[in-house]
Symmetry: D2
Subunit: 372 residues, 4 copies
Amino acid sequence: MKDDNVEGRARVVNTPQLNAYYEQLAEYEAGALWTVANDIEPWEPKAHSVPMIWRYQQLRPLVLRSLELVRPQEAGRRVIMLVNPKRHDVSAAVGLLYTGLQVMNPGEAASAHRHMASALRFIIEGEGAYTIVEGERVSLNRNDFVITPNGTWHEHGNDTGSGPCIWQDGLDIPLINTLEANFYEVHPDLHQRVTRPLDASYNTYSHAGVRPLEPDWRKAYSPLLKYSWTHTYEALCQYAQASEGSPFDGVMLEYVNPLTGGPVMPTLGATMQMLRAGQATRAHRHTGNVIYHVAKGCGYSIINGQRFDWEEHDIFCVPSWAWHEHANLSPDDDACLFSFSDFPVMKALSIYREEAYALNGGHQLMTQGQEN
Amino acid sequence: MKDDNVEGRARVVNTPQLNAYYEQLAEYEAGALWTVANDIEPWEPKAHSVPMIWRYQQLRPLVLRSLELVRPQEAGRRVIMLVNPKRHDVSAAVGLLYTGLQVMNPGEAASAHRHMASALRFIIEGEGAYTIVEGERVSLNRNDFVITPNGTWHEHGNDTGSGPCIWQDGLDIPLINTLEANFYEVHPDLHQRVTRPLDASYNTYSHAGVRPLEPDWRKAYSPLLKYSWTHTYEALCQYAQASEGSPFDGVMLEYVNPLTGGPVMPTLGATMQMLRAGQATRAHRHTGNVIYHVAKGCGYSIINGQRFDWEEHDIFCVPSWAWHEHANLSPDDDACLFSFSDFPVMKALSIYREEAYALNGGHQLMTQGQEN
Amino acid sequence: MKDDNVEGRARVVNTPQLNAYYEQLAEYEAGALWTVANDIEPWEPKAHSVPMIWRYQQLRPLVLRSLELVRPQEAGRRVIMLVNPKRHDVSAAVGLLYTGLQVMNPGEAASAHRHMASALRFIIEGEGAYTIVEGERVSLNRNDFVITPNGTWHEHGNDTGSGPCIWQDGLDIPLINTLEANFYEVHPDLHQRVTRPLDASYNTYSHAGVRPLEPDWRKAYSPLLKYSWTHTYEALCQYAQASEGSPFDGVMLEYVNPLTGGPVMPTLGATMQMLRAGQATRAHRHTGNVIYHVAKGCGYSIINGQRFDWEEHDIFCVPSWAWHEHANLSPDDDACLFSFSDFPVMKALSIYREEAYALNGGHQLMTQGQEN
Amino acid sequence: MKDDNVEGRARVVNTPQLNAYYEQLAEYEAGALWTVANDIEPWEPKAHSVPMIWRYQQLRPLVLRSLELVRPQEAGRRVIMLVNPKRHDVSAAVGLLYTGLQVMNPGEAASAHRHMASALRFIIEGEGAYTIVEGERVSLNRNDFVITPNGTWHEHGNDTGSGPCIWQDGLDIPLINTLEANFYEVHPDLHQRVTRPLDASYNTYSHAGVRPLEPDWRKAYSPLLKYSWTHTYEALCQYAQASEGSPFDGVMLEYVNPLTGGPVMPTLGATMQMLRAGQATRAHRHTGNVIYHVAKGCGYSIINGQRFDWEEHDIFCVPSWAWHEHANLSPDDDACLFSFSDFPVMKALSIYREEAYALNGGHQLMTQGQEN
């Protein structure tokens, strides 16, 4: 960290006279900038969160336990949220991102609502899960990714007779609260009417490079609601034939609005990346916070010098401006990481920056023991 | 057609005095607007072209004949162009659009060139066809659609040992000449080096809703070069489950730039439309010229009251502002029409207009006998 | 001009066999591309027009003469159009641009109409001229520039008691006819009702860098209708303090839509350029056709090696891809050229190109005598 | 405020069993969403700040006092910041916006720096103030508004011999810190070299509707750095002739990027509004926080039922979703309010909402006594 004792930084030495002055300022709800300047104008970003991993095998029994403990009618939604030790004040997993694991019994259906926060779901277990968004029912399977954009009526259910469904929710609730713009409404009829064919948007935008001629879409989010794992994995495999991929992220695709190539929602971006068998990427860092979900395989990530081993359905996070690199521990199969982030916010506000790790062949020196 | 004998139109009666005045004006390369005003400011668009159909079974032998008559080295390309009877002056099939049928023997490869005109190919016969665009080799099969945008080095070849390849070329040559902006260059080495993996762009943009994070694409055309028939037909079938489609065009998808949702090239748009078994669409008209290629099935189109029956690989055209409607004659199979047009020009210049046929349940009265 | 006798160009030698083949093709409205390929795919743009100048002192008496010869009720508008000797077929002054000089007696008012063509006016003489566009009356003075975009109801009049008004009209009529998209309507009441305050758009967008928060403007043209000479000249003088300007065009500003920075209309662009006292610019050429109006001063332009001397209100044109350079003959006053062009078309369709004249210090060798 | 005891909200009653469960969850850095759901998903936005006014006549002596107490070399900048009583944790005046009053003696010049935060200045007193941004020196006068966008090198100074300059700084420091994206750099030479003519951008974009043809500007902020009071006030007066203005804000203009019509910077917007003599606007509320500076006149604003009287150079704030309305107390002169806000953030992230006050003719009932 750079030194503050240089010209251009605040270096005022306190005196009794100044203290008296500060008290006078305080009477008028004012203060002297130089008393806080170095703190509020840091040399580089200060993340409020710490790197974390949440292991699915530890959390799964607790998630299932909630089925016995609360009913959707009282709980609203039966969700175990993952909370960063440093972000209890805003219920965030990292930065201003919220995430949780939601579970639903066969035959259950939560009531419809809408809010200014944007949401996404990543399906973990169970076959009968569905989401209804603005009158369109979306069928869901393992590793499918679905969006419920801000302002849209949405509700979730589980139709199957065979067992509970579990999925990961991701939202920007802490961001929208921080920006003092959150709204919440319960649907007046508690449930929407389904007005479009099943999976209509998925069938409308099923293949790359073709689109209907229908009236212009002026909304800020993608008209395509579901991104299936089957298609996404095929796309990764094909892209792996066309490109080396990124030195930092392997073979990586962003989920996008097929009409604009832009992010799926204005505040939340999502990607799926494939690490080839045995691949260990180089480290970099960037502004923006990221929550990862291990979609396939096992490996580890090194975040700010600390190693985190992961396997399927584990969830971990990388705080803003933290160095990070990923490795696939399988010698003969690929590993896939789903992730979502606030990159669209960083980019919309022109505050996205990134930096490659220059030393040691791009690999961090371990500064802490392995996280077990 | 509306009457010109109304206030607001030119109705000046010639006199000897005026004629003398016109001669004086002509000396200074000037003229009186009112002598031509009604003609150059018509009540509605006047198309220069007539509706036409070119039957593949008639043209195919003539196309193959050219294999014996000329060599690529002398002909540049072995192309039979389709010329509207009213557009010989600009070598257009309709409006300012050029089209032709190109043929290549096994083992042949045309030299590389680039031009300000934009081009597309729609594959009709043969298995070994390929195009190389800016260092990327693109493999092609029946009913595949490939673009060679303006300013890109491109060349075509046929690798197969089994027989000639035939495809349809579509270009905006008449438009670019009319706009006095055409350039042409032969590649200094006659052939490009292949610098990217086979079908790299196709594998990069293989699935809807996912894209690489690579550097911004600022070019005016699609980074995806090939749109395969297999994917396009699947997409039509899926879209048919999600939408009734258009009353005028059935189930129709536009080929687009996957990064923008916009047209594949700035001057040429392309679509594929499916007419369900037995479907007969309603008539409409619009500014913009269209060339159709029958990709699948048989049926007929009525254009300005004249019926044109078509079958696979026939090519027909609809001039600007001509009424048109389409019918699939099969009671149990769908029919598919590929088409390309100057709609992107109409839209970029804000001169696109359309109108539904209001009478007779949306179906034209036949004004002429059937075209045989 | 480059040689066509090279590989990659059409070099087929005619034979009786080929001639028979061509006749066969013609029966099916087809032809052999190689018979026209070199012609329709030229090495570089072929302009249809020749450089021209129309001298105001010669034309003015003829323009005024029309006041006696025709009435607006019969003529529609009393306009002397300027026609390129090579473009009589499309009534163009250069390329696909139309221009003319319109005159109106005090107290006259032409009827309202709208059309798909876009129009602009540049005021030459008279004080009481006005235009009404979509219910807004716009007052006009010498060298003011006003737009009447495509699809807008508009009408012109002259309120003054002191004498006739003369202005230059510029339109894209030949372009819109060539694109087969022209429409024309006479206002059902012959005149519009004025529904907005006088000069409302001019007063709304009066200063740079500030705009109302009103609902989004989604139209393709500028909401600002009038660009006054007073402001434009001040802007040139200020810009001349901030920038050297262009080596080819001097101190040049484009008239733009204040909400987008884009061209005033989708098919027509306009600029005003200032040549400093004694300045002689270097030559360049570009795709796109330009019509100039001398707003202030005197000087000359060299176009494809031919010198054209000009003075106030003269009109001259530069065809596509013609070399051109400008000189101000005054040793102590600036000269200003207004111009309009089809550059927005060139740019929207990605076919704009330009090239600097590399030889002789950037100045053309004279290939023809001076035009007198 | 709506009731939480309804279906669709969390209504789980605590039990010993649940408490035990919550402890178990906490061991894995997890929690039950329903324990915080109603809090983090409020029915409508909860602002962290309270409405405030800072009176210039009270603060001015304290600001001037700092001239004696600290030197720029130690203080970095001599700024009295205005801090909302509820936002001491982030040094914000309201929401995530920072503001302060900066003072500089004649002959002083602060060192150059750049940061990820975006900044603006509004000049209050003194004639010799200047800012240098990216090599361009900008001269400043009373009520001028100038931007120093994120990532640009900038520095301030006071050249005059006549007395201190005072201006208001506005920044998004709390926002950028909250988003964990702040960076800060001191210029390696402590001062920039001036490389452009004085006020170059102001002279380049001096008049509405004209712009240079120079290379595309791809930056996220306005190329125009200074918006002069003289021009802004003239623009308001002209706009007042063309429009009634807004019922909530009077005659209001937004400061914009002249090349896009968009906000001056991606995170900070700014406006100037004129209240006509005697005008009292109707109340509304919106997401987004606003800081006002009284540029001219005197009047009052009612914010969430509390009246705040203001006069020239007073600064007050309206928190997100607070009702507010403004009144000009002068019967014969207009009053002008400068303001800056985070509206561009709200709009970029699609979370801007507004609502008109429906009752009592649009005027709030007073819920608190007048603020003195």
